[in-house]
């Protein structure tokens, strides 16, 4: 039955994207719409003394200005569950008072008839500040560091097993180094954009978001508006990488502004504004200590991370979490501390925690390998973790040894001369490096609706999003398999908060969360069809047993006699039905929580919960006991770099990823995802860095000419392989997430290859050429 899942079909939304017909959030034109432009603070700390908008108001087409002086009052949202919507800065609701906590904080919205007029008017708003001395720079403020109680969603972030200090003290081989990573910005190509339109009490919002239902609940909570009167739509999202996972002031402000002037408002952040009002990755300082035997067996591991957050929310870059489970070691200590700075609050950025964390851990492992005169791959095999020792659980599925083997073979690791600085190609130094990639496999509750129409086509609805990852496509494949329909006959509808609630597009969880719900909803429809046929005298399947009836080629028929059956169309037409629909909710990871807190009566989710009680796919899924398992994806990444010894210019020449991410839903799309992660990693390793003015705390590198992201010419030859063994535990789909893991490991692998080529170890990212002199 599993026929289309796994096939490398073209993206189902690809035609819309190549013809310019995919509609992103800024691309709607409600009647009478005005353009809003944000005015941002130009100081990092202080108070607004005065806002002089007299000049702005004289600009032809000026419609209005909104600031803390005249904006509506907001309510603090309750709870911090990212699935229920997370406002990025819990202590700084936008434009509620005159306090400034960071450079580039939203302080006013100027509205005008055209974009040009709004921009001009916004440039004329004169703001006087009472400037206070900001807390600037992580390195100079380490004395104020503290240990936060928990990470995002209450995650445990301090961990200890055994006695790492004592074991380190008595170990044969000791290693200790400090690694630093700068602030990074997501820089999705589509700027954050919102259009808000009120019609009476109803609010329609088009928003570039990774969570349409999250935005709806936040708008409802913050504006005090009933959730069922708010509709949030994001049909296409131009990349997110975490920046559109939390909700930033621009979304809320657009809805507030539209209310204030009683006209639809479109507000799009400029690229410059995205550097201060739409999140970022936190800067980190990470100290890693190893104790080992002379044979390379780890006896002690310590990973101490200091990252920074704002004064208005606490976000921890959990760089050490992977260290707690990646290698076998009896004595491990992982800690995370925070320093508060006058900067915008950080947020998840592609592989939050693991991306900077595996950089430090995997460079440290490489250093230890050289110290031990051991092959870096061998060191990892010696310390291979068969179980998750941090959680004392078995892995649901782990095939990492095979990743190492295949990756080494693909890059030609055996031909590498381990001697540092020994390999050349023409004028270039050649270096080989490798690292382990890992990211947790997440799954959260999701619901979906499936509808089968009498004309033989099916529709799936789920309020999750496709942020470019391919969700439209692989969910079409999953549903097509259950219905036994070609992909052309299945339409998957996402990105609308009116649909049943799906997972937010973050944490590599959509496939594992939404896939089972969509599958179960489709199974629910089939169950109804079977029952109808069995009790229908005129059906060839009349009186047969449900378990003997299968679906394929748009028909239901007997399992062992495909000729005995009928098409969906025949059955529905005879029954006089236009369509049959089913709701399903799969709920595995939070079963307990949701049982004690069921969905509100009358909501689609409540109906989905009710229907799911008799849905065989949901019941089978819920029956699996997942408590004894730890869920992680793994991979091995190998790179070959060329370094120009005269200019110290580094070119990544080849990069290989071998990934163990469970079932590969679509090889073409999965390969693209991993390649994208690898390229993100090249940026992280060699190019990207957000610089702050050390005096006034303002962002210096606030455009794409100063914040360098990889371009086509930076690209190596990329090779991606998958183990493609379905994870038998995580879900009936067997797929773990894939969005994040590509960027973990690769940064360290590049760094390790540069060391192999040059003998220079750079522990401060990015590895720019000045650091290689």
């Amino acid at each position: 039955m599993n026929e289309i899942v796994g096939k490398p079909i073209d993206r189902v939304d690809g035609r819309l994207k190549v013809t310019g017909k995919a509609t992103y959030s800024a691309e709607y034109f409600p009647k009478n719409m005005v353009y809003g432009v944000l005015v941002l603070s130009t100081i990092a700390k202080g108070r607004i003394k005065n806002i002089d908008s007299r000049q702005a108001e004289r600009v032809p087409g000026f419609v209005g200005i909104m600031s803390y002086k005249n904006s509506m009052s907001l309510h603090f949202p309750q709870g911090a569950d990212p699935g229920a919507g997370k406002f990025a800065e819990k202590d700084l609701l936008p434009m509620q008072n005159n306090r400034i906590y960071y450079d580039g904080q939203a302080v006013a919205v100027v509205m005008a008839e055209t974009f040009e007029q709004a921009e001009h008017a916004a440039s004329l708003v004169k703001i006087d500040y009472e400037i206070e001395k900001p807390t600037v720079g992580l390195e100079g403020n380490l004395s104020s560091k503290y240990k936060p109680a928990a990470g995002m969603g209450g995650a445990q972030i301090q961990a200890m097993r055994g006695d790492a200090d004592a074991a380190l003290h008595s170990s044969e081989v000791k290693f200790e180094q400090t690694y630093t990573t700068p602030v990074y910005h997501h820089n999705a190509m589509e700027p954050h954009a919102t259009i808000a339109e009120w019609t009476g009490d109803n609010l329609m919002v088009y928003d570039a978001t990774q969570s349409v239902t999250g935005v709806r609940s936040l708008l409802s909570a913050m504006l005090g508006a009933p959730s069922d009167k708010i509709n949030v739509v994001a049909l296409f999202i131009g990349g997110g990488f975490g920046s559109k996972g939390f909700t930033w002031p621009n979304t809320i402000l657009t809805a507030m502004a539209a209310k204030q002037i009683n006209r639809p408002v479109k507000l799009v952040l400029s690229r410059q504004q995205m550097f201060t009002t739409a999140g970022r990755r936190s800067q980190t300082i990470q100290k890693i200590s190893f104790g080992a035997t002379s044979a390379g067996k780890l006896t002690s591991t310590k990973h101490e991370t200091i990252s920074e957050s704002s004064f208005v929310d606490e976000y921890v870059e959990t760089a050490g979490l992977a260290t707690n489970m990646l290698y076998s070691c009896p004595n491990v200590e992982v800690s995370h501390s925070l320093v508060r700075l006058n900067r915008v609050t950080p947020c998840p950025t592609r592989a939050p925690g693991e991306a900077p964390g595996t950089f430090a851990l995997e460079v440290a492992m490489d250093e230890l390998a050289y110290q031990l005169k051991m092959d870096p791959v061998q060191l990892r095999l010696v310390n291979y973790a068969d179980t998750d020792e941090g959680k004392s659980k078995q892995f649901s599925s782990k095939n990492l040894k095979e990743c190492y083997r295949r990756g080494a073979e693909a890059i030609g690791w055996a031909q590498r001369n381990p001697q540092v600085g020994s390999m050349r190609e023409g004028d270039y130094l050649v270096g080989y490096g490798m690292a382990t990639a890992t990211y947790p496999a997440n799954r959260s509750p999701s619901s979906a609706k499936a509808i089968l129409y009498a004309d033989g086509h099916a529709e799936i609805m789920c309020a999750t999003q496709d942020i470019g990852t391919g969700t439209y496509t692989i969910m079409t494949q999953a549903a097509a398999d259950i219905f036994g329909l070609p992909v052309e006959k299945v339409q998957v509808k996402l990105g609308n908060s009116a649909y049943p609630k799906g997972a937010n597009s973050g944490g590599s969880q959509v496939t594992a969360s939404v896939g089972p719900a969509i599958r179960a909803a489709a199974v629910g429809v089939l169950e109804k069809l079977k029952k109808m046929a069995i009790s229908d005298n005129a059906s060839p399947l009349h009186g047969h047993k449900e378990e003997n009836i299968f679906a394929s080629d748009g028909r239901i028929h007997l399992k062992d006699n495909a000729d005995k059956g009928e098409t969906y169309t025949q059955l529905l037409n005879r029954q006089g039905l236009q369509k049959v629909e089913a709701l399903a909710k799969t709920n595995v990871s939070n079963r307990q929580q949701t049982e004690s807190n069921p969905a509100a009566k009358g909501t689609a989710e409540a109906s989905a919960e009710e229907e799911s009680k008799t849905n065989p796919a949901v019941q089978e899924d819920e029956h699996v006991d997942r408590k004894p398992y730890s869920f992680h994806s793994f991979g091995a990444q190998f790179v070959r770099v060329l370094v120009d010894p005269l200019l110290n210019r580094v070119k990544v020449d080849r990069a290989v990823s071998v990934m163990d991410i469970g079932k590969v839903m679509n090889l073409k799309l999965a390969t693209n995802q991993i390649m994208g992660g690898m390229i993100f990693g090249i940026g992280m390793a060699l190019l990207e860095e957000t610089a702050y003015d050390p005096n006034n705390g303002r962002v210096v590198t606030r455009d794409l000419a100063q914040y360098l992201v990889p371009v086509n010419a930076d690209m190596p030859q990329l090779e991606v392989q998958f183990i493609d063994i379905p994870d038998p535990i995580i879900s009936p789909i067997g797929a773990r997430g894939i969005g994040e893991i590509g960027i973990t490991g690769i940064t360290a692998a590049i760094n390790n290859a540069i060391y192999h080529a040059t003998g220079k170890r750079v522990r401060d990212l990015p590895v720019t050429l000045d650091k290689l002199i």
């Binding site: 073209d10 190549v18 310019g20 034109f29 009478n32 209005g64 990349g239 470019g468 693209n672 086509n712």
Partner: protein, 210 residues
């Protein structure tokens, strides 16, 4: 809220806060005469004086030929070609990624040459043949570059894609790209943050070699 673009020509119904309708305002500008339109710099200079009102924006009537269709627009002279396409003509296929010519998302073809439409004013393009992503396909038949992008999965989120495709068509028109390295280099003005570069190059090679 359907896709109902605001009309390209000035609209009587939308009035500015001063109570002047847009058409009325434009008429005033026209009556004010050439003196005003010839001294934009002087007018601009006055704007920065404290207390002085900002000068009226200059407007012009321009006929843009986009994908073979003529559109006559009366618009703010400060309107970039990109904003004229996206906002005034409601053709949002061309994307705004940075508005500073640093990302290439807004690439369109002007008389067959690829340019960043955010770096040029719409009023400078009277008489030019402008081709956007919406104008590449012939009805249902995709342009070979569009078909190749689809086949090679040369995108993920799709936001840079219209610019990449227009840029790739321009690249082939230029005829400079002989090697893979040339393609990498000559496509480096178009950023793909999702990182589909390898597939983009594969798509371009396929079309180039046909």
């Amino acid at each position: 809220m359907d896709k109902n673009p605001h009309p390209p020509i000035e609209d009587d119904s939308s009035s500015s806060s001063s109570g002047t309708s847009r058409r009325g305002f434009l008429t005033q500008v026209a009556v004010a005469g050439a003196g005003l339109t010839l001294t934009p710099l002087l007018t601009g200079a006055k704007e920065i004086l404290p207390g002085a009102p900002p000068g009226p924006a200059q407007t012009s009537t321009v006929t843009l030929t986009v994908n073979g269709q003529k559109h006559t627009l009366n618009m703010d002279e400060r309107t970039s070609l990109l904003d004229a396409l996206r906002e005034n003509l409601a053709m949002p296929g061309t994307k705004k990624g940075c508005d500073h010519g640093q990302c290439g998302a807004c690439t369109v073809l002007v008389n067959g040459r690829r340019i960043n439409s955010c770096l040029t004013f719409a009023v400078m393009h009277q008489g030019d043949e402008i081709t956007t992503i919406e104008g590449l396909a012939k009805g249902d038949e995709l342009h070979p570059m569009q078909a190749a992008f689809l086949k090679h999965d040369a995108f993920q989120c799709g936001y840079c894609t219209p610019g990449q495709i227009c840029s790739a068509v321009g690249l082939i028109n230029e005829g400079h790209a002989r090697t893979d390295a040339d393609i990498h280099e000559l496509m480096s003005g178009n950023i793909c943050r999702c990182g589909a570069y390898q597939n983009i190059v594969a798509a371009i090679k396929e079309v180039k070699n046909v």
